[in-house]
Subunit: 379 residues, 4 copies
């Protein structure tokens, strides 16, 4: 079985997530980076490509040239999919062009800048029938799938309440406007879109809640805050929400919580049991049935569901982490590109996930704008 | 130094908190239970008093008899203070009568049923000059005082955000209406007042946030939920709030979170550092200064402030718990009754704490009633 | 039911454990301190007694006067039992005299200075038929009893290995010879006996291992170390041991482990499951059955055995600690003094426990002395 | 900079560690697997190579053919280093032959079967001047290097005591003799050598202790146990040891501890501070200075030493795990093969590490054989 050939857009000098994608796609040996247009600045794009070892003639100065040139290569050589790792504002154009040129797409989140773009992209994906994957990294952790599986099997009963939080502390000071390229674009409305913390990390929390519960967030009431003087987008978001099954939820996304690193965590409380998962200890899942001792489920354990165990690379106690979670997304993407029938129990963040995320994001921003009224989400 | 003589109202057969008070007041040998009227039912009151070892002639059939009879005893024998451990609806009458009869009062929380009662009681306390203590147990933990001290010393900088939660799981099913006397009255509006979870445990969370921050909660927006069918009061409360110093906060009080026991916990995020404390691990306090390793502060450690160290009974690693925290409240109460100048760094929950708690509770209930609008708190 | 009347020997000014006993015996209202001879120095004894509120005529200048005077009091007034909280070297004489005078005894550990004393004391206890209790505090924690119960029920299968550790850090420096009265006597062979760390805390670890396993430590090989220059007794002990059921074990007791507080902890590994318990988190017990998720058992939980649940004073999540564990020993002691048939599932550290502890201690010291050869324990 | 071209010996069907090596070498894009002889059975070797995507003409049927054929290829194509991932008994011959053929070697541990082989191999490495790396995975974790750095900087003072443990539970039953290929060879003296648990995991614990302390283990006293009936090698090892700096230590390696997964952990106690690290939570390091709060150092934190920070791939809170630690070893190996002057603060497990490990292993086995006498280690 050959490797899926990937071309990357974005991820050049100074970028963070591009290198993560490159490592992630290499881990399982199912994907191969064959070309790239790593910056929107032509010479930087070229230079960045060479620096990471791309062939000179496949390190392109811009993504349009890449799409054209690659399309002209023999089928067994040309790239098959585009990985989009630019700041948010560039996702849409690149994705549309890539799909138009017949390439599958694996895209960073939040997917695009607004619902108009999201719907146009969704139409394009459906029309082309190409594979579209969204980089919701945390959906790659095995125990998130086990959590989903426990809920789906009815082990929690009806879900009453979800508490999902994503606290970070790295923007507790004014970091933008200096050397910190990450802080710079993520707090810039022109490049990040209308959401700061809510877009950057809140969308992960939203995706996690929907994925584990198997329910839709149908309504939100939000308050966005800029705690740091001079910041142009929210660095803190509080969102009350409703679930399609009748439950309620609360979401916190903040980037000013000193001491917090990347603390995505979720608690799901049902009528019969609860569960808890924390990204920073991703190989542990707490399951708490009523009237019984809490149970600590662990990655690679013999009692996991088969389709979950299949996502574990190392034996119990040999911790897998963020890069492996990311690698799993590329693995699932590669399966789909290769036309393999994926295990349909394995949820994969796709264009619908992206649509739902954008609808959530727009509703949150609108609710906050209107003083915290409830906003329905229809998608 | 003689012991402070206490008379107890409530806390007879089937009660929970009465026994806690009796243990707590005994721990440090500064208080002594000398009499009681342990039930509102005369024969049960009598029987309960004898069962816990009260003298026959000081186990009263009702609190009014107790007040009268004790007042008639020689000064060196008669009780000096009344501990009120009844359900909420009885606090006001007993407290007013006790103060009128010249006795100090140590009262369970929430203090009374509404602000009208609260203000009348506050006037009475001021008028009589007697000591009034409120059983905010968690204010008795040494590391809560250390947390306050770190904030007061400016170690966190300006407070941006407080996240305070009090999750429990014991009311995840319909427990009331059967044998569970605790569930029964705590979910009954006539005895508990207008708040279920928000009154029972939310007021503790509110008190903790104000105590550690040294700021007032000035405004709230709340949503109260009854998750369990047939329940008459909220079993879940979400409250957004504002702090007098300009910060924001979020409070969760829930009793349907299976697997949670008594999980009162607080995170305070300032401009320079954060702190975290969790009631179930009360001898640990996390202090997280920006750019530095997180620090784990421990009870009885040599680096604690002197006034905090003075609250620790056992050496490091010999865990103190809930009963000791409670005992500390009685210790501080005894100091005040004995006229000892308390260490003014040691905060003691008093009538003002009670007033603030009732104002918070009323504002939360009103906000929820009005569909989640912001309500100011003026007290 | 009247309270058991206790007289205390030792525990005056500057002492640590005396105050712990006084608090512990007060907690459940089953015991009452009525008299004492709190120091071996007459005026200090008197002064200390008054300071803690003893009546003038029952604050004795020495323990012999106390025994004589109390014996002469009317039966319904005189003390019933003596609590011995002196340094180790004084235990034997006081205990023998108290038993001779017809008083029950509750004694600090290690019980006496050597096996000769231990056997004489054991004979005396048997001869008099009086109650003898030993202050193995950690035997008072409910979850230690639950651990015992799981082993006894065969849930672990045959025990293969026990790892029991008791690390502390408070003697990492030379603390003796200055103000630290605790450090002073505990490192002085004349007052502490032949064991430093091994006697002070190693005996607790030994008792815990035997109690939970229900097996005897039958053989030891030990190495004692004095890490701190100038110290006269071991501050670190490593002991390999054999169990009567065929299993093996390892015991560590150290007082030079900076950062450790009072870290008594045990792991028991059987053929079918393991368990873990840690004194600093006493309300949690890990049970780990093979091939299944680990289970976190919690104090006051509904799934505990009845006789264990009966030892819990507060609901789940309201932590009990060291003082409550100690109080439970006094409760069990009071039951026995009162002639109540104790629940025979509830293990109580008694004269046999003390004998076993002394035999262990002597064997460890002898093994170390002889270069680490295996020594059998016959008791 | 081109990738280092690796050929692999062992790691075919049913193997565990081969796949780990393949993932690890891919992660940073500095190495490339170009050929292999993946089994000692010719057709299985061939088949396994094709299954993982090796070119047909570079999937060899045995390692000797590989060495010969690769040596004949043009320099810019042929492999540069051999990764040896066979069971232990095959390491020596392959390594000697590879070095003789002019290839660098990266070898699994324990390095060889005995000291005679170890010394012959060491001579060969020195003679050829080629790079030799040893797969002590846990030396790849950044915080292990930070621990080393804290000790080297004197932050702990003189080391008094090291407690290093490596508990696992996967051999708590008879797993060998059935499908479990791992259990099979690791408990077979002919393939594993004279040590079971002590060789398989005890050598990791030994390496970790020496690496962090910067001291040599100079003497050991050991007891090896076979807890599972019918097992041919130890499944549990207890080792007392001495350090070259005068400190003492204790090592536990066990594979029958149900509930333990891969629990390598170390505590280092010095005169001024202690530190703790646990492989299952590899991104945390506890540093405990005397009289101060314990500090939690975290991977990728700004306060880490530069050479440690350089080993972190992802930001704080994005956990790296076992595969990344392994990848770091390949990265350091690639640096050395490429002739880059490595950062000399970065310790890399090499032939001397292997020699020391074998000497330790032999001494432990000899001590156990002789009834637990002390054995010196001279290497």
């Amino acid at each position: 079985m050959g490797k899926i050939r990937i071309g990357m857009v974005g991820g050049g000098e100074g970028a963070f997530i591009g290198a993560v994608h490159r490592t992630a796609l290499a881990i399982d040996g199912r994907c191969e980076l064959v070309c790239g247009a790593l910056s929107s600045t032509a010479d930087k794009a070229k230079r960045s490509g060479l620096a990471i070892g791309l062939a000179d003639d496949r390190s392109y100065s811009d993504y349009r040239s890449m799409l054209t040139a690659e399309a002209a290569l023999p089928e067994e050589i040309r790239m098959q999919a585009v990985a989009i790792v630019t700041p948010n504002h560039a996702h849409f154009d690149v994705a549309m062009a890539a799909l138009d040129a017949g390439f599958h797409v694996f895209c960073e989140k939040p997917m695009v800048m607004d619902m108009t773009q999201a719907q146009a992209l969704a139409s394009k994906v459906r029309e082309t029938g190409l594979v579209f994957g969204l980089a919701h990294t945390y959906a790659g952790y095995p125990l998130v799938h086990q959590a989903r599986s426990l809920v789906a099997a009815g082990r929690l009963g009806a879900i009453r309440k979800i508490i999902v939080e994503y606290p970070q502390g790295w923007l507790a000071r004014m970091e933008e406007g200096g050397d910190n390229k990450q802080a710079d674009w993520r707090t810039d409305p022109a490049r990040a879109g209308g959401g700061g913390a809510i877009g950057d990390i809140g969308t992960h929390a939203h995706q996690l809640a929907e994925m584990i519960s198997g329910e839709a967030v149908t309504e939100v009431r939000a308050e966005l805050t800029r705690f740091v003087d001079g910041r142009r987008l929210d660095d803190d978001a509080e969102v009350a929400f409703r679930l399609s099954g009748g439950g309620k939820g609360h979401l916190l996304a903040t980037q000013i919580a000193i001491g917090e690193e990347n603390g995505l965590r979720i608690r799901v409380h049902g009528e019969k049991a609860s569960l808890r998962w924390l990204q920073e200890e991703p190989n542990s899942l707490w399951f708490q049935p009523i009237d019984q001792p809490a149970q600590l489920w662990r990655a690679a354990a013999p009692y996991l569901d088969d389709h979950v165990a299949a996502l574990c690379r190392t034996p119990m106690g040999h911790p897998e982490g963020y890069l492996e979670a990311f690698a799993t997304l590329y693995l699932l993407f590669a399966d789909r590109v290769a036309g393999k029938a994926g295990n349909d129990k394995i949820l994969f963040p796709d264009i619908d996930t992206g649509l739902r995320g954008m609808a959530f994001l727009e509703a949150v921003i609108a609710s906050d704008h209107d003083g915290g009224i409830w906003r329905k989400i229809n998608v």
